[in-house]
């Protein structure tokens, strides 16, 4: 890996750690800000299967009489997906989310989200790997690379009366890898989040 590239990733990781540290500085505050814990299907191109887990933290609540549900959220997430015959992929991706409730029907709420996200992507090749050397071809176990992914996400969801959030969403990400290519990464996601009422009550105090 070229030095410049290593430095770039080191700086990026540091930023992620600082962001994580900021949210974890005060455990009590984090607990108060915790809104939900989520899990879902992460399908790169819809069809390459994977899993996403995340937690949602409240940054600001700007709900008004007119806009009953308007929140700014921070959502760190961990993702795994598999490209058949190609690579195993791991992503750590903090997201900044704007969540707006669109319509209330009884005790359920239709809401949508727009999010900006940036994360670290590790891809590991599937299969036996070889490298050519001056003395011939040798077997290696190092294959893969690192990248930065960044882009936007859109989500449509329903909050149920049991404080569960069911959602269908899409990620549109650009990928800046150590490679010379800049592929896109598009994912369709289906998930559920479990609300943390205790946190909301404590914040309300």
């Amino acid at each position: 890996m070229p030095l410049l590239s290593s430095l770039r990733f080191a700086v990026f990781f540091t930023l992620i750690l600082i962001a994580s540290g900021w949210t974890g500085l005060n455990a009590q505050e984090t607990k108060q800000r915790l809104r939900s814990v989520g899990i879902g299907y992460y399908g790169e191109l819809g069809l390459h299967p994977g899993l996403q887990g995340d937690i949602t933290l409240l940054i600001a609540d700007n709900s008004t009489r007119r806009y009953k549900w308007r929140k700014l959220l921070f959502r760190p997430s961990a993702i795994y997906f598999r490209r058949q015959f190609y690579s195993n992929n791991f992503i750590i991706m903090p997201q900044l989310v704007s969540q707006i409730g669109a319509r209330e029907i009884g005790e359920t709420l239709l809401y949508f989200e727009v999010s900006g996200k940036v994360g670290y992507h590790r891809y590991q090749y599937i299969g036996d790997q070889y490298i050519s050397t001056p003395t011939g071809i040798q077997s290696v176990k190092r294959g893969g690379g690192n990248g930065v992914v960044y882009g936007l996400g859109f989500l449509l969801g329903i909050k149920s009366r049991s404080d569960r959030y069911y959602s269908l969403s899409m990620d549109y990400l650009n990928e800046k890898t150590e490679d010379t290519i800049r592929p896109k990464l598009i994912a369709i996601k289906l998930g559920v989040r479990f609300g943390c009422k205790q946190g909301e009550k404590e914040t309300a105090k």
Partner: protein
């Protein structure tokens, strides 16, 4: 909550298990699929070895472009590839900066010489992995035909290969563009006389004639644009005439069950081809000097309706190489254009298998 988490995990595991698993441990079998990567001069080249390798016969598919993908033959043209895989192990490798290959490829390495060196490393890898007693058929399509011919110009490298299968190869870069113009004029005359789009064909014929009259003896990356535009228009007209059948697999299967990565292929495809294409024109003099020395058993296959690499290039190969008459053959597929694996997949595959059965030791 735990129930739902479990359900999601089981769902994803189920989806993954429907897909085929990679089994690289069984080295020989009648239905193997091996997934390999070779890193060479900055490029991480993706290789799939699939089919029957019990008789240790391997057929390397060298894709076109430059910038296309061999994996797409395995995902979208299974009626072609599956027939060959019944008796041979097909080797699909994506060239540097093409298809689903990755790595830190310096644009300066995108030359004919480097591609030839890459192909040599792929062959060395096959010998290393499957043994020195394997036999290899080199099969190139379009630019792959060109690349395989460039590989075979060196006698030492040629000795590593048993036979050459050239499908629609544009072997002599400048001549093939002029051959395309000639072929377009022939087809235009035939179609116009039958009353099929006479105005359009006559118009194209005039453009092709004008291009030939310009007496270009050496094209460049920039000057090839004009003949390629005429070629594209002719292809559109042929498609409009409905003379070609197109058989391709589904995108769903390609993504879910196979190794089709459209956005990675698109990212590679967006790279400039200027360096390699200018290098190809420079390489014509080498082809002229060394092609007459090729003695390998050779099967050339061209589509009757192919105006991108016209059948005249097949005649050029057939008449130029030193292979004895009984070991070389030129076949024209009447219902094919530039991609017979899409137009006549089964016929193409059977033609190749029948010929390989006789000529590949």
């Amino acid at each position: 909550m735990k129930n739902i988490i479990h359900r999601f995990i089981v769902f994803v595991i189920l989806l993954s298990s429907i897909q085929c698993a990679v089994d690289n441990r069984t080295l020989f079998g009648d239905d193997i699929r091996h997934q390999l990567w070779l890193t060479h001069e900055g490029a991480d080249m993706a290789i799939t070895v699939e089919g029957n390798n019990l008789k240790k016969r391997f057929c390397i598919l060298v894709h076109g472009g430059p910038g296309s993908s061999a994996q797409e033959f395995n995902t979208f043209t299974k009626p072609f590839s599956d027939v060959i895989e019944r008796d041979y192990a097909m080797v699909y490798y994506d060239q540097r900066a093409a298809g689903i290959s990755r790595g830190t490829v310096d644009p300066e390495t995108e030359t004919v010489a480097q591609h030839v060196d890459d192909l040599d490393q792929i062959i060395e890898l096959l010998y290393l992995r499957y043994g020195e007693d394997i036999s290899i058929a080199l099969m190139g399509h379009s630019w792959g035909g060109y690349l395989t011919s460039a590989y075979l110009l060196d006698a030492d490298r040629s000795a590593k290969v048993g036979v050459w299968v050239n499908i629609d190869g544009g072997i002599h870069r400048t001549n093939f563009l002029n051959d395309d113009m000639t072929r377009i004029m022939e087809i235009a005359e035939d179609q116009a006389s039958q009353g099929i789009f006479p105005f359009e064909w006559n118009n194209l014929k005039a453009q092709a004639q004008q291009q030939l009259n310009s007496n270009v003896t050496k094209y460049t990356y920039e000057t090839q644009d004009t003949p390629f535009r005429i070629v594209s228009n002719a292809e559109q007209l042929i498609n409009k005439s409905g003379v070609l059948e197109t058989i391709t697999g589904s995108t769903f299967d390609a993504i879910f069950f196979d190794n089709y990565q459209p956005y990675i292929a698109a990212a590679n495809d967006s790279r400039s081809g200027e360096i390699i294409q200018n290098d190809m024109f420079e390489f014509d003099s080498t082809v002229e000097a060394l092609l007459p020395g090729v003695e390998l058993p050779t099967l050339s296959i061209y589509g009757y309706w192919d105006v991108r690499t016209a059948l005249q290039q097949g005649e050029y190969v057939f008449n130029t190489i030193a292979t004895p008459e009984e070991s070389k053959e030129l076949i024209i597929l009447e219902d094919s254009g530039h991609s017979p694996m899409v137009n006549e997949p089964t016929r193409l595959a059977n033609t190749i298998v029948d010929w390989l059965d006789i000529h590949l030791p």
